[in-house]
Amino acid sequence: MEPWEEDGPETVKRFMYVNRKAPYGTIYALENLEVVLIAAAFDQDVSVVFLDDGVYQLKKNQHTAAIGMKNFSNTYRALDDYDVEKIYVEQESLQSRGLSAEDLIIPVEVVAADDLREIMAQQDVVISS
């Protein structure tokens, strides 16, 4: 939050969108992404976190033709266009799944649980699905 925003008529809140579920097995990944894209249009401080199986949402190289479902993984690239820049992935979640930042479809900030804990503790509104 910038100093002039503190004084403005509008409150700026820190919103965190938390993703803990894998894509395709359930719709939560897709519908949570739809929320984030809408949220980006409001002048709030938005961050998005991927942890546990949520890190699978960002796996490169998704090909869904054979399961007949829409591949929405490219839509994560739109986060940058929408000025959603705080995208965190928990390091422990990646590691225990044998993945690294190079496996992900967009650049992210990989943070250790110890750091993610601090980031989470600073949020005003946490939306998970």
């Binding site: 649980a113 804990r117 989470m120 503790a121 600073q122 949020q123 005003d124 998970s128």
Partner: protein, 103 residues
């Protein structure tokens, strides 16, 4: 820094929600166990170890109506877990700046 209330509604015998909450909740935060999350309050279940290990760091609450519904009134709960009703749940949300649900 805000104060956080973490909500865990899944059984530790089925999912990893509680584990993740305990790993990422900051010291001094509150954790409310509700719905199937109340099974984590059972003193004699193997899941008790993880909760006990965080007793000094986090403040634990359990939703009484969900405890009674599941027949756990006659089962020992972990010492140091505070039982609240829906009104107490509301108070906890009021007393903490942010509520985070571990879905």
């Amino acid at each position: 820094m805000t104060t956080m209330l973490h909500l865990v509604n899944k059984s530790p015998g089925e999912r990893n929600s509680l584990d993740s909450c305990l790993r990422l909740a900051k010291a001094g935060s509150a954790v409310l166990l509700l719905e199937d999350g109340v099974y984590a309050a059972m003193a004699n279940a193997t899941s008790a170890e993880a909760v006990t290990a965080c007793m000094g760091k986090l403040i634990f609450y359990v939703l009484g109506p969900d405890v009674s519904a599941r027949g756990l009134d006659d089962v020992p709960l972990l010492d140091g877990i505070n039982v609240v009703d829906y009104g107490g749940f509301v108070d906890l949300v009021v007393e903490h700046d942010t509520a985070q649900s571990w879905l």
